[in-house]
């Protein structure tokens, strides 16, 4: 049987293999993504971002269990950094989520960034689609958390949760620019530590000053993930945000912006590939470079020539 049919019928092995195919850009990747497309768009996709050690994995583990308790199925994509020197990676998020492994209603996949810089792996968005088509109700994306500007998560998630911890010194200053803008829900985890009140106050102040997000005022919640405290309130906030997305039309707006963006990226990729193929087979690329080096032509003129030729 075809791998997509197996996946749609609930084969976990087929899902795992489809993810590998997509992640490695195997030849069948395009047709897999094409075939699952009609079955996507149902899941609530929740991004979990924040600095390393903030408790993202622990929190994801606990939230996943809560959703399972409600009878919902869960997918998790956990991203860790690929070493820029060796190309390898140690993907360690499973350590905090081992108890989920034996639950057939949870599918957890670890991914290395493989050179991608925005906090996700190159193919995280596509892997989320595979899990969505597989039928997962809730899909978590745990971002890298190495303090890069992890803004890509909003391209993949419906609801973005930013996890922070008290006592990092100059709390708010330590928070990377850009992170206030992406959070729909802020979680102060490790609320068993000192400095919670201060961080909470500072966060609320910053959020009041933030001109963005006029429709949804981000909320701040406190948790002690390792002890499972504050989960009920956090789940409530997640549910509120989801309701807001649907009733305000924001879900529709975000998804169509995302769809447009994905289409443009895909178009871009394919056009570049086609052009490159065309100008490399006959050695034209080399002669263009030569003409540039000899100052016979400008890059702009060359691009115009290539495009005119392609679009003829």
């Amino acid at each position: 049987m075809d791998i997509v049919q197996e996946l749609l019928r609930g084969s976990r092995r087929a899902l795992a293999r489809a993810i590998t195919a997509v992640e490695n850009d195997y030849e069948e990747a395009g047709s897999i993504l094409q075939d699952i497309y009609p079955f996507t768009g149902r899941a609530h996709v929740i991004g979990i971002t924040g600095p390393p050690g903030a408790g993202k994995s622990t929190l994801t583990d606990k939230l996943a269990k809560e959703y399972r308790g409600q009878g919902k199925t869960v997918g998790i994509v956990a991203v860790d950094p690929t070493s820029p020197f060796f190309g390898g990676a140690i993907l360690g998020d499973r350590i905090r989520m081992n108890e989920l492994t034996m639950d057939p209603g949870v599918f957890l996949r670890s991914m290395g960034t493989r050179g991608s810089l925005g906090g996700l792996a190159r193919k995280t968005v596509e892997v989320v689609k595979l899990m969505d088509a597989f039928g997962k109700d809730i899909i978590f994306i745990e971002t890298v958390g190495v303090g890069q500007s992890e803004v890509d998560v909003i391209k993949a998630a419906d609801t973005t949760v930013v996890v922070l911890v008290p006592g990092l010194g100059d709390d708010i200053q330590a928070i990377k620019a850009g992170i206030l803008e992406i959070g729909d829900i802020f979680v102060i985890n490790k609320a068993d530590r000192d400095g919670v009140e201060r961080l909470n106050t500072e966060l609320e102040m910053m959020l009041d000053l933030n001109p963005e997000k006029t429709l949804w005022r981000p909320v701040v919640k406190r948790t002690v993930a390792s002890r499972g405290e504050g989960l009920v309130e956090l789940l409530e906030a997640l549910e509120n945000h989801r309701t807001f997305l649907v009733t305000s039309g924001e879900q529709q707006r975000r998804r169509s912006a995302r769809t447009k963006n994905e289409l443009l990226v895909l178009l871009n990729e394919h056009i570049s590939k086609k052009v490159l193929e065309k100008i490399t087979v006959g050695g034209e690329l080399d002669s263009f470079v030569e003409r540039l080096e000899n100052h016979q032509q400008t890059p702009y003129a060359i691009v115009n020539t290539i495009l005119a030729e392609m679009l003829r």
Binding site: S83, G87, L91, T101, R109, S110
Partner: protein, 131 residues
């Protein structure tokens, strides 16, 4: 995109530290592999399920407690049940020479005893991972 060899490094059994497994994990990463590290005290069932979800090419088992003769073959069997018989299974730890033939018979591809340079493990995986 170039494909990466994915290795699950797991510690079945009850012994309490994972220094050796971590050293191996780092060596494998430095060789360009993606290492899924699952931590201590994994049951064979957890190892097989994690291997399935992560679609790994290799399962590397590390064990000090002496239960290798039951735990390693159990992992082999559970992977087969999941149609993952192509996965290369290697083991490491304090394992008497006399146990090695039996483990290989059971489907463990290679056993690395203490003192094996990590480079030898990397090389073995590179040579034996098919696809």
């Amino acid at each position: 995109m170039e494909k990466r060899i994915r290795v699950l490094v797991a510690k079945p059994g009850l012994d309490g530290h994972d220094r050796g497994a971590k050293v191996v994990a780092r060596a494998l990463r430095d060789a360009g592999f993606e290492v899924i590290y699952t931590g201590l005290r994994q049951t064979p069932e957890q190892i097989a399920e994690a291997a399935l979800e992560e679609d790994v090419n290799v399962v590397a088992l590390s064990l000090l407690s002496g239960a290798h003769n039951t735990l390693f073959p159990k992992v082999v069997e559970l992977l087969k049940e999941r149609e993952m018989q192509h996965v290369l299974i290697v083991g490491g730890g304090v394992i008497p020479d006399s146990d090695i033939p039996g483990l290989k018979q059971a489907g463990v591809a290679e056993i690395f005893t203490p003192g094996t340079p990590t480079a030898a493990i990397v090389e073995f995986i590179k040579v034996h991972v098919t696809q």
